[in-house]
Amino acid sequence: MEAHVTPAATYAKVLGVLLALTVITVLAAGFNFGSWNVVIALGIATIKASLVALFFMHLRHDKPIGAVIFVTGAATLGVFLMICMLDSDARTESAVRPATRDAGAPALSVGPSPSAPERRSPESRRLP
């Protein structure tokens, strides 16, 4: 049991901030910040999620064990997501690179280009 009782007014203020941030995230989606779009959207979502966890889920005043468990899980997911994104970004780039090197080659050619080094032998490519 937590010793601290959060006053009811605090919860109302947190709800107000959460609703304001929801409006901000919708308004921000109306502008184009290029590659920052997803960073801004997820950044605002993370601020909202933190407010819910800290105040509504009482992590701010509770014993730390709950926060330790929750943050460990969330951080594990973060590592999982980051490694997967690094992997998929690297793959898209390697498909584009041969085309950017030779000006004459068609963009995004899937087949092996003469300038790109063969990574696998023709035998292995024929395997299902």
């Binding site: 989606a29 979502a45 909202k48 468990i69 999982f80």
Partner: protein, 216 residues
């Protein structure tokens, strides 16, 4: 039946020494369960992120089929329900038994409104043939591969909707106990734990809304 030393001793189970120990143990168990929920949804989020980075144009074209206004209203409804839920916990802790019932009822109504709006959204998509995988039959797409977005849309919002239904069931259970007058400052663990679960469902929607409805 002999009454125990504490006024609400009837809720203290024999394998716990104190009510505080019992409440703490319950909370730790709930947090562990919530982490498994985060990882369950996490797999879908990571899959969505990978497919969206590989097929950005198809995902952006497909998300225009979603109604932003309905998504926004649902976000507001769910955030409000989180507030009424935490007020139910607060009322139990401060011994306002009637308010616990009122706030739990308000939370249930918000959950019902959320599912009602979801029903409107789903039936529109069913009607247009915007269905997952091989059931996708929407005509006139400008970018191929849009069915992929709807596979994720239905899996993620569907799993989230199932969690809302589960949440409504457990809120009904604590509501019954609140009407009976079980909860006070000395014992409110069930309301507290159902509250934690409900906030997690809200937390997942906080990420679903911008990712599905507002991507570019």
């Amino acid at each position: 039946m002999s009454t125990a030393a504490t006024p609400h001793g009837e809720f203290l189970q024999h394998h716990f020494t104190t009510a505080e120990q019992q409440a703490d143990a319950g909370k730790i168990g709930m947090w562990l369960f919530l982490v498994t929920e985060v990882l369950l949804f996490g797999g879908l989020f990571v899959g969505f992120a990978i497919m969206q980075s590989l097929h950005r144009e198809a995902f952006v074209a497909a998300h225009h089929q979603l109604d932003r206004v309905l998504g926004f209203i649902n976000t507001v409804v769910l955030l409000t329900s989180s507030y009424t839920m935490v007020m139910a916990v607060h009322s139990a802790r401060t011994d306002r038994r009637k308010r616990v019932v009122v706030y739990l009822l308000l939370t249930l109504i918000c959950a019902g409104v959320f599912l009602g709006i979801k029903y409107v959204e789903y039936s529109h998509k069913f009607h247009e043939g915007l269905l997952p995988g091989r059931y996708y039959s929407h005509k006139g797409d400008s970018v191929p591969g849009q069915f992929m977005f709807f596979s994720f849309y239905f899996m993620m919002t569907g799993l989230h909707g199932v969690h809302i239904l589960g949440g409504m069931a457990v809120i009904l259970w604590v509501l019954r106990r609140a009407v009976r007058g079980d909860f006070s400052h000395a014992y409110y663990t069930p309301v507290d734990l159902v509250g934690l679960y409900w906030h997690l469902v809200d937390l997942i929607w906080i990420y679903l809304f911008p990712l599905l409805y507002l991507i570019k």
